[in-house]
Subunit: 186 residues, 2 copies
Amino acid sequence: MAEEGRRFLGGIRTRSQKLDSGEALFRAGDEARAIFHLERGVLRLGSFQRAQAGELVAEDALFLPAYPCDAVALSPSRIEIFPKAAVLLHLSAHPQINMAFSAYLAGQVRALRGRLDLMRLNRAPDRVVAYLTQLGADKDTIRLDRPLVAVAEEIGLTHEALYRALARLQRDNRLIRPGRGLFRLL
Amino acid sequence: MAEEGRRFLGGIRTRSQKLDSGEALFRAGDEARAIFHLERGVLRLGSFQRAQAGELVAEDALFLPAYPCDAVALSPSRIEIFPKAAVLLHLSAHPQINMAFSAYLAGQVRALRGRLDLMRLNRAPDRVVAYLTQLGADKDTIRLDRPLVAVAEEIGLTHEALYRALARLQRDNRLIRPGRGLFRLL
DNA sequence: CCCCGATTATGATCGCGATCATAATTCATT
DNA sequence: AATGAATTATGATCGCGATCATAATCGGGG
């Protein structure tokens, strides 16, 4: 969902780092000196939050003195390190980039609110329809690049429940699957 | 969750408007000319998103030409109107306010991610503990000002399920309720 | 081409949250 | 103080998603 965050940080000198599974990127209370772009892998933030590959990690630490929670790799991961001071300097020196950063964050807020409301739907078919609607918007046919197991994880269902929901939606003539990874709502 | 958004918009001339239940604030595709602060009531955004009193509404429309979805009042509501041009001018004229706006949005993202991960917990007691942990952080005793029915709604449970989860947590000696609206995790 | 893991299923059972019913307590309003 | 609404419960039943088991198909690497 947050794959685009990195482009606002274009001109900044970075270095990369690898994390083994279980290794900590930072701990709660550590002085916040950098934000991160998760290139590969999965992190656990705090006790149950998770960050996926492609996401910007700890962007709120830009505005905090210390990291508010632990960040631990759940799988072998690679991160790009953006020193906080450089990022803040970069943003304040370039108002239009700061504005773009705000725009990025506003988009994140919007997407997350949508995802949150999705999770309030208890019945699996409803949730699937809402998810496809969010993705598809106006388009009639929706293409999913990710495997369905990943989608299931994303919307808080087991993959079994997702398969069954898709099967049921097709039985009820509410969904057509024209091909692999293709979905059309009716 | 978003009660603080308004303070970044201090110096801007606004007007207020009342909405009857069912009345539209804007429709998808309408030119985005303003963002809003929901003072009272509840709005429905799109097909299932909801905005609560105190939230900033359509802040992402600052960076979009048109509103991406409908906004309809679900109950009699009052909104404060912030003209988009004035807000953008205000932000670009005051870099430190733009930075504060980014900080606000980053905090929103963080809170929403936390809430989202909360919703992945299927068992009600787990979700309740996670919710209290999020609120309480370090404090030992957590005070909830809202009624429990509102909390239940917030975390995607029925109030019955919430009451039962609280009762069970107390039975299992994982929670103490020292008084009305007070909770202490063990 | 073959093999093996990942993906895509489907079936059976179980647990738990949703739902409906009922009631005690608290709170607001007159 | 009285009264009605909202809040805080608790019980019974039901439906559906989670879990565990099993299998077909796809896809990539040797």
